[in-house]
Every structure is written in structure tokens, then in C-alpha cells.
Subunit: 402 residues, 2 copies
């Protein structure tokens, strides 16, 4: 949601430009302020930021993204497993990356994944691999075995035209060296398996980019999180189309609702999400609804799309407010980070935060925006402050001291 | 810069009283807020405060002021050296301090320093001394040798009429006891050497206060700072007339520009400083400009002088803004602490902070003041937040997480 003022748009941000009557109503009647997802100026990844918003200090709990993705993709993980985010990609004979997403391949990836999943690693004894495709060109890899480490570098060079990276031990440990060797062998074998795959031969004959390699990044182990229930005395559920958020919710012991139409993409079914909230509120007292679309518009640098996704998200807010009584329930609305359209990447800006509900002082702001939030009645808080504030408003927090 | 409202001046602060059109322009167009140099209510020394503003947490990195002064005075220090701030002072035969600054002696101090530098300590084997005069009555002492400690108390009683202190071990360690013994012997020997010095005989005959002893305080070792470049990916330079700030900059790996006219006193050449900024901006992308004068006026309890120094500092800001394009560069303006004229000492108040530059939301404040800052769009941040915020605005920060 959060952005910076744009000179080409009368120095307005997408949120200031968007027509968001429901969010504005919430902001006017509630606590309004700025939230630093981690700390002022710190530029967070979505994994770290959402961890903080759920009340878990990333400095204490963050163990990489890969395992959250793998959990969210439905794989079972044990504490000794190391998991990776993966892309099907296109490389030339010199392992130079032609397309990091293999022409944004959508069809047949589960067949390719099956072939990759069959890879056996010979060079590193006692390590098995599990591989699964998720959405489009995305997939997850799990290395399973003794003496593995998440301290290995990425194979994905994150830019086209570069050669693929060689996984390296980041801390010099034997475990990390073993893991890096396993990753490098896996990537090499994925190329051997995929370049001969019939589906790629079809793609080549149709002049489509071939998915002839798997690139790994974001090594991670499952974080050891005290349960959300034990921390905040709340029975929680989560509505999201994003595998990482699902995995994070699972690691925290939240239920994950399976909502058809919650895609985690720029087009998502906001009405289906709103219905799921109403459904979820029957037997849960905490519901996390994650909307990915404005972040995608920010990454794409698309001002109009960002305005549109915010207006669509506003309709979701409106649906929920129509059905879930704001006179009885608390409703917090925020971003996990800013993705300004002028930058196309996450920045370290504070983001607006609104908390509405019973007995909450009204900010009397006329509109929800970065600017009104910077002068709001909540002041400037941090990501890990949100759950304690909500728990306190809900009357469920424990007294510190006596 | 920062102060408190004064009943004798229509409840205005010096900053509210001063005519500061350039600072006001910067505040209006930029982020405006409050900054706690260390934490709310914490009353910081300039060393600790400037360390925090440069992004180094004093709780982690602070090792006393003496070594920063010595580095800034041009002495080479090794990690085992312990350095002290010193004053030439006047004591009577009972070692009672008549004048902590020996009549603010200005002439001949390098000759006196040469005599003091020749002192050899006999009572503590393996400890050598290096002594150098700096500005006016000020000097630095370095104790060099094995098994020394900075945990020793000050000899300077910091008030006139009191007897000089005896350096004591603050932590009971053998190293601290050894260091205290060396300090006490040095101070005693300095008195022996100085009271007979011809220059003091001349001063006595001219009824000037004699500089007949050296008083030590602020024991310190060089802090082990990760380089500013490694922390923030910035090539930095520093413009200051204050030895401690020079030393801090050097410890952080910043270049220190030699600017004639930057005196670190109440009269400094603001135009020379502005020219140095423009010069420095050619091959550096971070420039720290330190202005000492308003702090001196605060210590002197001189409202008019503080207003005048703020107006002079405003002209420096104006010079820089005329030459360095604020549409392309970021400009942060703050204080390292408040020195209210009604108190004559540092206080723990938050200080105004302004950040101007591309894509920064405008506070629309009509004037820079403590009061407008307390309602600004940046909210309330801490000293160590400043560099992460600037690094993020500059697009040079690393992503935390993925």
C-alpha cells in the first residue's frame, strides 16, 4: 500500500490518488499512525516484515525464506531440512541466464518437477532431495539429511545475462560446505534432466523459452516459533494466496484457510476473501487477510495498477466492515513494507497503520494516506508492537509485573 | 541548536527567535521530526551522541572520549593505548584548583607541552607517555604500554576551589590500578616540570595565571568501529574544527578535510565550511559538517549569542543549498544534543531533525523549531535511526530478509 509522492501525479501517492472510502472511514474513526516494519530505514523482505507484524522479532526468529515457501507449498519439513525457493529458468550452454522465469512458463511444470524430483544426489552421502512446482515458474527444493546448513549462497544470479552462481558456504562450516556441494550437484543434474525433457523439446519447436535448469535461492530452515496461541491467547486463521505467508502462518500455528480465488497475484478474488473472513470469524478470534496485489503493482512500477489494486482492496475492506461489526471487533490495516512505484522495489519507509474498533480514539483524519498517517494519533510504532497493541485492546494481554 | 522556551523571551527558544530562512525552507519541504540522540531523556556527551548519529550504537561501541580527542589531534594510537583529555590548569601549593584553564592560556602551550612530553614515568614499569597540546588550554595524553585500562577516574575535579582528584581504578582490575598509578605519577611530575618552567615565570611576573599542572579526564581507548563504508556503502568525509569529531570520523574510516577557518569555536568561518562541502561533494557521497558554535553559546548561557550562531549556521545551510542541488541530494540537519541557555549544560531533550531531498514528503511546517518538530511528519526517531533512513533514501541499503 505505502508509496512516496510522485511528481508526475501532483506529488500524490497512489493511496492519496485512490478512491478508498472504506479505508478512509476506518482511518477517521480509529487510531492512525506510522509503522516501521522492522526499524526506521530498515528495508525488509516480506518474510521478515510479516514475521514482525505477527509479533515475532525477526532478529530472534528469522531462519531464511525457503522453508516458509516449502511449508506453504504443502511439503512437510523436519527441523534438519534445508529448503530453497526455486525458479525454472533458461540458460545457454555456458550457464548464462537467458530468462530467469523460462518465459514465465505456466503449463507442464508439474511434469518437469516430477522429473527433477527423481534426481538422486551421489556426491554428498546421506542427502535426499524433494522438489515440487508451485505457481507458474516457481518451485521449492528440500534437502533432507544430517548435517545440513542454511548458510549457503544463492545460485540464482537475480539478473539475466549473468552466469548462474555457484552455491558457497557463507560461514565456512562443514555443514554449509556439504549443503553447497549438494545444491551445486542438484542444479547441474536439473540441467541434465530438463534439457532432454520432451516438454522442453515441444517448447523449443514452438519457439518458447525452454525450462532447462532450476535456480535456487533463499535457503532456510523452519523457524522455531512459540505458538501464536501461547503468545497472544488468540485462535488464528490466515487467508492468503502466497505460499510464504501460508508457511509463516503454519509455523506460528495458525490455521490456513483454503480460499479459491485467493491467488497471490495481481488479480485476486476479493469477494471470495471477504466471504472467507466472515466464515473464519465463526470459530476464530484472529484473522490475517493478506493482499499481495498492490506490492506486485509497485514492483511493476505501475501507478495506475497500484491505484486500482488499492481501490479493489478497499472494496474488500468495505465487504468486511459491512459484515463484521466494527463496534464489537478490532480491525487493523497496514502494509508489510512500502514498494514505491518509482522504485520498483521494497524501501525502508514507515507505512500507514490503522486500528479501528471499540473504545479506540478517533484520528479524525479525512483520508487514509501516508501523509495523514504521519500526523496521526498513534504516533510511530514498530512491526512487533502491533500484536501487543491488538492483544491489549482485546483485553487478552497478560500483566507485566504485578 | 535545540533549547527550551524561555520566560524572558516570550516563551520562545533561540531557534524560534532566530531568523533562519534557509533552515525553514528545508524543514517545510522535507521530513521534520524529533530525534532522541540516544534514547528519550538520556543526556548525552557529544562523543556518544555523534557516534549514534553516525550509526554506531554507543552501548556497543563507546570506549571513552580520550582516544577520539588524541586521534583528532593527530596522534597515532594502538588498541592497547589509553588516552586522556587534558587541561593546563593553575593549582595552589595544596593542589587546590584556582583556574581549570590556567587563565585560558593561549600562547606558548606547545613549549610547555614539549617539557611535559619529556616526562618519564618510573613508578609503573613499561608505561610510556606521549603528550600534545591542541587548542588553547587543551591537550591530550597517551599512556602506552601493556596491561593498561580505560577504567580510571578523572583527576580534573571539574570545578574550581576543589582539590585535584586522585585517579582511581573504577573496576578494581590490576590493569586499572596500574593505569591510575601511572596517571597520578604523570600529574605529579607535570606539576614539578611546569612550576619551574620559564614561561610560567614570565606569566607570573605579568600577573597571569600560571599553567602549573596538567589535569586529566575522559580516559579512552580507540573504539573498534566497522567502517562507515562497510556499514552504509558511502564514501564519507568530515568537516569540523573539533578534535573529538575528527577522531570519531577517523575511527569510522571517514576522510577528515582540513578546512582553514573551521575552528570549533564560537567564531568559525561558515563560508569556508560551505566551500569545503562543495569541494568534498566532488569525490564523496557523504559529508558530515559539524558546527560547534551554538553549543558553546548554550554552555555560556548566552541567549543572544545562541541566536546569532544559529543565524550564522543558517547562512551555511543557505550556501550549501545554493550550490548542492537539493533536488538530487539528501540533506539532514540536526543537533547532537540540546544545550539550553537556561541550563548551561547538555540536557536529554529530543532535538529537531530535518531530512530534505528527492521524493521526501513535505512537512509544510512554516518554520524550523522545537515546537514544529514535535508535530512533524517524521515522528520521533533515535540517533542510530538516522543513517539507516538516509541509506534507504539513497537506495543503498541492503534488504533484510528476502
Amino acid at each position: 500500500m505505502a508509496d512516496r509522492p510522485l511528481i508526475d501525479h501532483d506529488y500524490k501517492t497512489p493511496l492519496e490518488y485512490a478512491n478508498t472510502p472504506n479505508m478512509d472511514r476506518l482511518a477517521k474513526a480509529g487510531l492512525l499512525g506510522q509503522l516501521d516494519p522492522v526499524a526506521p530505514g530498515v528495508r525488509p523482505g516480506s518474510d521478515v516484515a510479516n514475521m514482525a507484524l505477527l509479533g515475532y522479532d525477526p532478529a530472534k526468529y528469522y531462519t531464511g525464506r525457503g522453508a516458509l515457501e516449502a511449508l506453504g507449498a504443502g511439503l512437510n519439513l523436519s527441523p534438519s531440512d534445508v529448503a530453497f525457493r526455486c525458479n525454472f529458468a533458461t540458460v545457454d550452454d555456458d550457464f548464462r541466464v537467458e530468462d530467469r522465469r523460462a518465459g514465465r512458463i505456466r503449463k507442464g511444470t508439474s511434469k518437469l518437477a516430477k522429473a527433477v524430483d527423481a534426481i538422486r544426489i551421489d556426491g554428498v552421502p546421506g542427502v535426499k532431495t524433494v522438489f515440487k512446482s508451485t505457481v507458474d515458474h516457481r518451485a521449492v527444493l528440500v534437502l533432507r539429511g544430517e548435517k545440513l546448513s542454511r548458510m549457503v549462497s544463492d545460485v540464482d544470479p537475480k539478473e539475466e545475462g549473468s552466469k548462474i552462481g555457484i552455491a558457497k558456504a557463507l560461514d565456512g562450516s562443514e555443514e554449509a560446505k556439504r549443503t553447497a556441494a549438494a545444491v551445486n550437484e542438484f542444479v547441474k543434474r536439473s540441467h541434465e534432466v530438463l534439457r532432454e525433457h520432451p516438454l522442453n523439446q515441444d517448447r523449443a519447436s514452438e519457439k518458447e523459452k525452454v525450462a532447462n535448469i532450476v535456480l535456487t535461492r533463499g535457503a532456510g530452515t523452519i523457524p522455531t516459533l512459540p505458538s501464536f496461541k501461547s503468545m497472544f491467547d488468540l485462535r488464528g486463521t490466515c487467508i492468503t494466496g502466497t505460499a510464504m505467508i501460508k508457511g509463516l502462518a503454519m509455523a506460528a500455528g495458525l490455521e490456513v484457510m483454503d480460499v479459491r480465488g485467493a491467488t497471490g497475484s495481481i488479480r485476486t478474488d476479493y469477494e471470495a476473501k471477504a466471504k472467507a473472513v466472515i466464515e473464519g470469524s465463526r470459530d476464530k478470534n484472529f484473522i490475517l487477510v493478506h493482499v499481495k496485489a498492490p506490492d506486485i503493482a509497485g514492483h511493476d512500477g505501475d501507478f495506475k495498477a497500484k491505484v486500482r489494486t488499492l481501490e479493489e482492496a478497499d472494496s474488500l475492506v468495505g465487504h468486511i466492515m459491512d459484515e463484521v461489526d466494527i463496534g464489537l471487533n478490532y480491525f487493523a490495516l497496514t502494509s508489510d513494507h512500502a514498494t514505491p512505484v518509482g522504485y520498483g522495489t521494497h524501501t525502508g519507509d514507515p507505512v500507514p497503520i490503522v486500528i479501528g474498533g471499540p473504545d479506540v480514539p478517533a484520528s479524525r483524519a479525512l483520508k487514509l494516506s501516508e501523509s495523514t498517517a504521519s500526523r496521526g494519533n498513534l504516533g510511530r510504532i514498530r512491526g512487533t508492537d502491533l500484536m501487543p497493541i491488538l492483544t491489549d485492546l482485546l483485553g487478552r494481554s497478560r500483566l507485566y509485573g504485578s
